[in-house]
């Protein structure tokens, strides 16, 4: 599948998994790496972009053992953006299906 297309979908998926709970980079990768067949590095770089755009917010969580860890949570802007993009995505899929089901012969 085209990598740009995957990256677009990946952004929505990252925002979506963060609606469940805050997660570390490793946990986000665990959710998406195998399902979407996208490398860890691509997921990481998209995470940085989402952070840069203010759609997700990093915070540090203290753990009972070991060093504090960086986690991500969805920002308000991220929640609004997720709704918009999910709507756009659904419309896009719907239109693609319409085109595919059309009889052109």
């Amino acid at each position: 599948m085209d990598s740009q297309f995957k990256k677009g979908a990946l952004e929505i998926c990252i925002l979506k998994v963060l609606t469940k709970k805050s997660m570390s980079t490793f946990e986000i990768m665990g959710e998406l790496h195998e399902k979407l067949e996208i490398t860890e590095n691509t997921i990481y770089s998209i995470l940085r972009r989402l952070q840069k755009d203010g759609l997700i917010k990093p915070f540090t969580k203290k753990l009972p053992m070991g060093a504090p860890r960086k986690y991500f949570e969805l920002s308000e802007l991220g929640e609004i953006t997720l709704k918009e993009r999910y709507q756009q995505w659904n419309n896009f899929i719907k239109h693609v299906e319409e085109v595919m089901e059309e009889d052109y012969e």
């Binding site: 490793f26 860890e40 770089s45 972009r49």
Partner: protein
Amino acid sequence: MNKDMFLDSLRNELFRARASMVELGEILNDYNQLIDEAIEGGMDEGKFISGLGNPNELVLEIKTNIGGFQKNRASDFTLGIKPSALKDGKLFLDFIFIIAFIMIGLITNDWHPTWVILLFGLGVLFSKGGKNVLEKIQFSALFFTPATYVLLDHYFDNPYLGLFSMVLPVISILNKNYKQILTVALLGLTVILGLNFGVWVFIGLSTVLFIIQTLNIDNPIDHDNFGIFVFLILGMNFSMWHPGWIVLVIYTSSKLVIRKKGK
């Protein structure tokens, strides 16, 4: 490849890609945490790291997806003592050498060559960066050698003292660091020119080039030890050891106090 090697390689690639120090620190911390979590999750360290791929490709991927790295900006800098300097005792060692320099200078009033004590101090500090005994010797020799050379030059007026700088390439060869062969050749040529024709004008430059290559420094102007390079060129090329050492003290102190955010 283990975690340390991967992070070292990633650091070099980010530095080469001119990532700002803040971004460099963040990305290294993120990957450090990522690998730790993978290991804690029961994954094999080597397998997980090899799955991450080449750090070079990783940096390219980040660069492409975030639209390039930020350039170093004024807001990257802040005032304060580097936490790492406090943690590994560098600051304490720095102070010991500076206080020794001031006290001996005040007592003897021989500021030159008393300042050489600062070079020995830097040698001790740099030796901490070596991963094994030979590398520790190599790093410390970068400072011990010119320091000894200055002392000998001060007390004995011998034209063959330039040969002393050859200690550096010899240590490199012992350490199997063959990458610097051209720089070593330049250093050798400089010494030959000096001994045969009394032309020592390239000695400072070739020594500094040698140090830059030994420490694998990509951008010497942006490097923490730029003051040392200027000082060595001033001293070796123009015999301005004094008051050239003032550049060294001011630059090194400012680097200790004016630090980049996140470092």
